[in-house]
Amino acid sequence: MNAATSDSPRIGVYVCHCGSNIAHMVDVEEVRAWAEETLKGEGVVVARDYKFMCSSLGQELIQKDIRELGLNRIVVAACSPHLHEKTFRAACEKAGLNGYLCELVSIREHASWVHTDKAAATEKSKMIVAGGVKRVRYDEPLDPLRVPIHKRTLVVGGGIAGIQTALEIANAGYPVYLVEREASIGGHMAQFDKTFPTLDCAACILTPKMVDAGEHPNITLLTWSEVTRVEGSLGNFQVTIRKKARHVVEDLCTGCGICTEKCPKKVLDTVFEAGLGYRKAIYTPFPQSVPKYPVIDVENCTYFVKGKCKACQIFCPTGAIDFEQEDEETTVEVGNIILATGFQTFDPRRIPQYGYGRLANVFTSLEFERMSNAAGPTGGEIVLRDGKTKPQSVAIVHCVGSRDRRYNNYCSVICCMQSLKFAHLVKERTGAEVYNFYIDMRTAYKGYDEFYQRVLSEGVNLVRGKVAEITDAARLPGEEGKLIVQVEDTLAGRQRRIPVDMVILSVGLEPRKDAYETAKLFGISCSANGWYTEKHPKLDPVATMTEGIFIAGACQGPKDIPTSVAQGAAAAARVLGHIQAGEMSMEPIRASVDEARCSGCRICNGLCPFNAISFHDDRRVTEINPALCQGCGTCVAACPAGAISGTGFSDAQVMAQIEGLLWDVRV
């Protein structure tokens, strides 16, 4: 018998009904009886079943047996360890048994929920229990690691979610680094005119927060900056941030705007103005930008392109222009990181039949936001691409790129409300006939459906049906010179062709194109669509599987402003909890190298996502820094010598579990 099992295991098996969640598809009593009888030889002393093992009565059952029967190993067959591993470990600890001598095996997610044949699901549950019993014999008592928490926090992304998060933490008295890729914080919200359903002005509610963030003594604003490297783990991350050269010395610049005014070079603004307006080569994205310092767009600046001009430098009253400025890298130490990197909009050129980019008067929702914004390129006038003609009729197409297997199968959440907002604004400002084309109207949440009713009462035409095509090829009288929207009206039950002057495509939300790289940089995971994965979809929506890294806002999935703000605050609360606790306990799951068996082949050296592996050239052995190791197991699997083992996931444990799972096919 292996040394790890020599303390003669006395194992208790506890099979949970989970109400009817498990019991409806697994014969729980049969599993219990089988385990007690068949697994006797494996050290099972007692097996019980109970309606809700996670309830206090269920936990007491285990604790009583530990005390009275002298159990030294526990197997609970219930839900996923994600849900209740901590619960049962804590229950064992209270009865004096090390929590890591308890295995939670899932007969809910792995059996009852995924099968329809009760007899087979029951047999499978027995095997799952056998796997747990075989494995638990090799479990060793472990102690959680305690790590001190650095008081500083990094927030990545200066949209509304990131701003909210930074302000919450800063207001609580702790320092925050707020990193933003663009020249100003504000994000997408700064581009909007009105916000649904209350129609309050986006700038009016956002800019005070931007100013607060910019002036807050606890917030270090790093705009025009990107994170390039992340090392360390919960409590102590070392983050390298590249400050791109602004070519404007922030200490000297007063933000007077003379440079922008004097700059002779006009550049199409494809970021803030969504391609609808122009900016200068030295610019701030918008007048209320925070910080106020402009940046030079070196790709378009006449001096950088042709070597002469320097108008900005000549006119700058404080000598703040520095053409020689270079990118700077700084490394900061933080205890926690919150990612609020937002979204990008769907590119409707991918749906050629909608004509965007080909038919001048087809606009995207972001273009319309800028157009309707009083500070935007048309001064808030809703006009056709020619810049002057008011439309007589406007079509608004919902779900562009969303809820469509060819593009994104998910609902982008905000488009219905955004489209209704557009309908209202068009109606209000132009009196045009408005047609909204929708698949299903989704107006959940407070005040949303009321807004829908209001827009209906304003005389907007709502057509239920997915638009097939937008074309300028007139077929019928009255279509000449118009854009024709071809649609199946599923309520009227017929095909319709509706001629309009202007089409607005309510484009869906997508993860940023570099979301995957960013996730990798920070060591978190993405869903198949590319949205960042939360620790639990319902109960832990702002945490990630990587301790100390949180997510907020649309980077986790499409969401509206109120939800983004709530998530920003929630993530801040989680971080503040860490900071105030001073130290946190971490799972003691770590990889370690047996130096006698390590041959120094260096296979593992480039693999660690947490940079915990280092190589000692003198002794020709690899070492793993337990403070950096997150226990992911990558190096354990890769080590060809089997010299690396993971605590809690030793070969003996894993092989024993597999042997148990294959109980019924033993030869």
């Binding site: 260096r602 296979i603 480039g606 020709r620 080590c639 060809p640």
Partner: protein, 328 residues
């Protein structure tokens, strides 16, 4: 006083292990001096019946090389186990199946087809071996050919393991020295189940080549172009099994500029050599593009042969999967 008895036997093997034992030079005289050799088909004349006549446990040391391919191999394994105090699985075939075990990828009928009807065989009457055949002189018997080659320890209990294809002669000599000393009462035998004549790490431990963080963008073979004499072969894209293979040979092949092919088997405590080597190699392929990864992996012409050349019978897989009608 009679001398302790020694036996060496071959199952499914090439005979190289026997030669490696003879290759210990003058120490072979010490073997002869210390032991009475009761069975060693390659070196001395003895009959199975002589062994069968011995009392159980009469043989002090038996070195068994070769895998268990047929009924005769199994019979001798069981017989020698019964008669021996110390039974050693000697060499790669006995410990992990070695090259003969690659036949486990195919059903018996396919093997016979290849061997008795293949282009290298002249067999005009298309004969196949029969377990029983009537001839004018009576009935002839051939041992039953099993569908799967097994390692010695999959058939009988084994006391020690000496890996290698074949084990290095200096390592054999060193093990024999321990045995001689133990017989004189001057040393203790290592704990039962130990791997003897080898290290506990891998070939890289003994390989002097310079190594760095590995990033493989393509695989090549040594005949494809010049091989840098200083740098790790794997870093040059040559599929060297050194990182996964137990040390003990002195890194002979990498020193000669040829890839380690893995004959010393898995390192201490590794359950599946091929899986270890595969996951190690896969983890250092330097691409994230599935198609490019596919292209890089295509540079390994025979993955089963490359990763399980010596270890198929001893691996978790043991053999290929085929249906009753012989399809893999």
């Amino acid at each position: 006083m009679s001398k302790p008895k020694f036996a060496m036997y071959w199952g499914a093997s090439c005979g190289g292990c026997d030669i490696a034992v003879l290759n210990i030079h003058e120490k072979i005289l010490e073997v002869d001096e210390t032991f009475e050799i009761v069975l060693w088909p390659v070196a001395v004349d003895a009959k199975y019946a002589d062994v069968e006549a011995l009392p159980d446990g009469a043989i002090t040391l038996t070195l068994f090389n070769g895998g268990i391919r047929n009924e005769e191999n199994e019979h001798m394994a069981r017989l020698l186990r019964r008669k021996s105090q110390i039974l050693v699985a000697f060499g790669s075939c006995a410990t992990e199946g070695c090259v003969p075990a690659l036949a486990n990828l195919y059903p018996r009928e396919t093997l016979f087809e290849t061997i008795y009807a293949g282009p290298s065989t002249e067999n005009p009457e298309d004969r196949r071996p029969l377990e029983r055949a009537a001839v004018p002189e009576g009935e002839l018997h051939l041992p039953k050919f099993y569908p799967t080659l097994r390692t010695l320890d999959q058939v009988v209990e084994v006391d020690y393991i000496i890996p290698g294809c074949p084990p290095e002669s200096r390592q054999i000599a060193a093990v024999l020295d321990v045995v001689f000393a133990a017989l004189r009462g001057e040393a203790e035998l290592p704990p039962k189940g130990s791997v003897l004549g080898a290290g506990i790490s891998t070939v890289c431990e003994e390989c002097p080549r310079k190594r760095d963080v590995k990033k493989i963008r393509s695989f090549r073979r040594i005949q494809d172009g010049p091989v840098d004499p200083e740098i790790c072969l794997l870093e040059q894209g040559i599929l060297c099994a050194g990182p996964a293979t137990r040390d003990g040979c002195g890194a002979l092949c990498p020193l000669a500029g040829a890839a380690c092919i893995g004959c010393y088997g898995p390192s201490e405590g590794v359950a599946d050599y091929g899986a270890r080597l595969m996951s190690a190699v896969a983890s250092v392929i330097d691409s994230r593009d599935p198609e490019e990864i596919e292209r890089i992996l295509d540079g390994i012409p025979d993955p089963a042969g490359a990763f399980y050349r010596f270890n198929l019978a001893g691996s978790l897989l043991r053999r290929g999967r085929w249906t009753m009608d012989g399809r893999r």
